[in-house]
């Protein structure tokens, strides 16, 4: 996956109901493994299901299941919007 794509945005910028494809992580650290192990690997499709009532965390659908991430994590994941 080319991480320097032009239409690259952060996962946290995708609106509710939006679908996108993971490009990679903007900053590498130990937590990235944990996130990748849950199935958020480059090339995977993600759908934003909803934000929690207080605006954080966010619920996403990936690999057929639902996962919740804090904005802080979603901020580190580069994605490309799928129309």
């Amino acid at each position: 996956m080319d991480i320097n794509k032009e239409n690259k945005v952060l996962l946290s910028q995708i609106p509710v109901g939006g679908k996108c494809v993971i490009l990679g992580f903007s900053a590498e650290n130990d937590d990235c493994d944990r996130i990748e192990e849950m199935g958020l690997t480059p090339g995977e499709h993600v759908e934003i299901i909803r934000y929690a009532p207080l605006g954080d965390p966010v619920e996403i659908k990936i690999r057929g299941y639902c996962l919740s991430l804090r904005r802080q994590e979603a901020d580190r994941i580069n994605v490309e919007l799928v129309p």
């Binding site: 493994d33 690997t41 965390p57 690999r63 919740s68 802080q72």
Partner: protein, 705 residues
């Protein structure tokens, strides 16, 4: 059965099996189905991971040990749970035999992510059976999984199960009885460059550390995904214990080479595994597209809604507390009556003397004072089990995470803290659901600041003395102030601990939101029973011992013929109360309150009965007579003792102080050390002292009395 015959051995000597699987995969349900009530719950040595084991009776009177591994998403060693799961599978845990077979429980409705763990376990080279659980849900969703093909592609037997209906468990048992061999060879591949390095490291580990090839490869992957070089001569993390300096040096050469080439081995294996899984699913799963939202999505639209979400959340919590504080009081009264009946009975049958006194006032009263909370604990754990098994608990954490995050905690800390309003003991025990050890510890440390129900009698009598003519509303608002003070204190301390002592990199909050499911009542009741048994066992051991010690302190040395209040004053506890008078005088307390403080270590509500003895009213004095005694109590110079300010200061003291041996005992068990409960006791004592002093000082300066 859906496994090739070549995988079956004719005869086997299976003694131990392990159940592995993701959280929410139904692993525990299968464990319950296998072991029924033949379960044991304990701790793994040195860590606070719960160790569950039991026995499975196979046909022909064969008994097999079953180990229920902690539910994990991965075997990469990042949490104590994962460490334990990995160590047990590799036979590295003392006292736990290496499992002959691993049954990996897989949520068939969430196959893609669940197979990730399957792939990791395969690498360890342990014979495995995959239990494809909750197949009924998959069928309902109109998905078809080709079991024969899946079994072929994975290279292990696959059994379809519905554990909560006991479906497929017989087939699993037959397979276990027959035995399974590990005929696995890795099929997934990473980029050639990384494969090469992994191969070399595997060779090193086989040669130098004497591992089997499978084990060495799994270890090599873990080592390759390290971010930094290894240090020689020491233990660099958990994986490297006992490696020679030479081996470490050679491993570092490989790491350097990877870095020079700019290769990222850490994620290569993850991605390669998932690619392999995807290719398998493409072959084995036929998805009939269904239209419309599913059950879970429809429920979540309400339960995590911006407005209705809060209403439901508050409603559920209010209902839980209503049950704890009202319904539970009925059996609590029975227990209370039962224990006082037992006390009376012993008093009647035993000859008068120290032994009778010990049994009645030490053992029966002491243990009874704690066991009385059993109904609350049962109800609380019923709710926790129910909410967890339906999937709502994850939603509660989802809703509350923003708030808890502000304190540096996790959404999952919410339930333990909330539970502590009933009693800190179940609250602390329920902190086990928090994965991050530091978050869990902070939660445990602040949980007793939540005003538990044992403080209620103390608040009640103090409020009665403070404002004899107060209306119910005024009383309730003072009570509320006490609760809020505790909550604020807990928040401040949680934030403080996270910022200083238990500082950690903000843990990633990634939490699965599992589909809503009808809970199995059996599982909920079992969970409730298990927790209560742990509680009762503690009441029977540590709490019993503490009760006896406190009783002895308040009884000895004996002064025959003396009035009860005088004898108490001359006892060790009484002398300690007199001794600490100079310390507590700045708070406005005299030695009599000192004795009350010391006596209430057994349980906070004991303050009331201790004070009754101090004022020579007998133990079962009416609240009103105690109130009057308090109101007329005075210092030697005639100043009244229980001024409004002293009452307030005393209440504040009880908000913060860890006046509860049972909590100390439970924290000891949960943290596996004396260091944390002692630390907790002292920090809370300091907090209580300072707060009570401030109330008294500021109040006096402002002209109140």
């Amino acid at each position: 059965m859906s496994h090739p015959d070549s995988l079956l051995e004719k005869k086997s000597s299976i003694k131990t099996i392990a159940l592995a699987g993701n959280p929410n995969s139904g692993k525990t349900t299968l464990f319950n189905a296998f072991t029924k009530l033949r379960q044991k719950v304990g701790n793994y040595p040195g860590v606070t991971v719960e160790k569950k084991s039991g026995t499975l009776v196979l046909a022909k009177d064969r008994i097999v040990n079953v180990i229920d591994l902690p539910g994990t998403y991965s075997l990469t060693v990042r949490s104590p749970d994962e460490q334990v799961a990995r160590d047990v599978l590799l036979g590295r845990t003392p006292e736990v035999p290496k499992p002959d077979i691993v049954v990996c429980v897989v949520d068939a409705g969430n196959l893609e992510r669940n197979l990730y763990l399957v792939s990791q376990i395969q690498d360890l080279g342990v014979p495995m059976i995959v239990a494809l659980n909750m197949m009924d849900e998959v069928e309902r969703q109109g998905r078809v999984i080709d079991l024969v093909k899946l079994s072929q592609r994975l290279g292990v037997p696959v059994v379809s199960t519905v554990a909560n209906q006991n479906k497929g468990t017989d087939e699993l048992k037959t397979l276990i009885a027959a035995g399974v061999s590990a005929g696995y060879s890795r099929v997934w591949r990473m980029a050639p460059d990384i494969e090469e390095e992994a191969e070399e490291m595997t060779g090193l580990l086989v040669h130098h550390a004497g591992m089997s090839r499978n084990e060495a490869f799994a270890e090599a992957l873990a080592c390759l995904s390290q971010r930094t070089r290894f240090e020689t001569g020491g233990k660099t993390g958990a994986i490297l214990q006992g490696y020679s300096d030479e081996l470490v040096a050679r491993m570092n050469v490989i790491l350097d080479r990877l870095q020079a080439k700019g290769l990222r081995a850490r994620t290569a294996a993850i991605e390669a595994r998932y690619d392999w899984i995807k290719s398998i699913l493409k072959d084995c799963v036929k998805d009939k597209q269904k239209k419309g939202k599913d059950f879970t999505e429809r429920i979540d639209a309400v339960l995590t809604h911006k407005i209705f979400g809060w209403i439901c959340f508050l409603g559920i919590m209010a209902f839980m507390f209503y049950m704890i504080f009202t319904v539970a009081t009925i059996p609590m009264d029975w227990i209370d009556a039962g224990f006082s009946y037992a006390g009376d009975w012993v008093t009647a049958v035993m000859p008068e003397g120290d032994v009778r006194d010990l049994v009645v006032n030490g053992i029966i009263a002491g243990v009874g004072g704690v066991v009385i909370f059993l109904p609350q604990i049962l109800i609380l754990f019923f709710f926790i089990g129910f909410l967890q098994d339906t999937g709502y608990m994850a939603r509660a954490a989802f809703i509350m995470d923003r708030v808890m995050n502000k304190l540096g905690l996790h959404g999952k800390s919410f339930i333990p803290l909330l539970s502590s309003f009933a009693c800190a003991i179940p609250g602390i025990m329920s902190a086990r659901t928090i994965e991050s050890p530091k978050d869990r510890l902070v939660t445990i440390l602040v949980a007793p600041l939540m005003s538990c129900s044992a403080r209620l009698p103390v608040y009640a009598i103090m409020i009665a003395v403070l404002m004899p003519a107060a209306t119910a509303l005024q009383k309730a608002s003072i009570m509320l102030i006490m609760y809020v003070t505790g909550i604020v204190g807990a928040c401040v301390m949680a934030w403080f601990f996270k910022a200083t002592l238990l500082r950690s990199q903000k843990p990633v909050f990634i939490m699965e939101l599992p589909p809503y499911r009808l809970p199995s009542w059996r599982a909920v009741v079992l969970h409730m029973w298990e927790r209560s048994r742990l509680f009762l066992r503690r009441a029977g051991t540590v709490i019993l011992a503490m009760s006896i010690i406190l009783w002895a302190l308040m009884t000895y040395p004996k002064h025959p013929g003396m009035e009860q209040d005088q004898a108490l004053k001359m006892s060790y506890a009484g002398r300690a109360g007199t001794l600490i008078e100079p310390v507590i005088k700045p708070l406005g307390y005299d030695w009599r309150i000192g004795i009350g403080l010391i006596g209430s270590f057994a349980a906070r509500e004991v303050f009331v009965s201790t004070m009754s003895i101090v004022f020579n009213l007998g133990e079962d004095a009416e609240e009103n007579s105690l109130k009057e005694a308090f109101q007329s109590a005075s210092w030697p110079d005639g100043r009244p003792l229980f001024t409004p300010l002293v009452c307030l200061s005393l209440m504040i003291f009880y908000v913060f102080a860890l006046q509860c041996v049972s909590t100390i005992a439970v924290v000891y068990r949960e943290t596996n050390s004396w260091q944390w409960p002692l630390f907790q006791f002292f920090y809370m004592a300091v907090l209580a002292y300072v707060a009570a002093w401030l109330v008294y000082r500021i109040g006096s300066t402002a002209g109140f009395s």
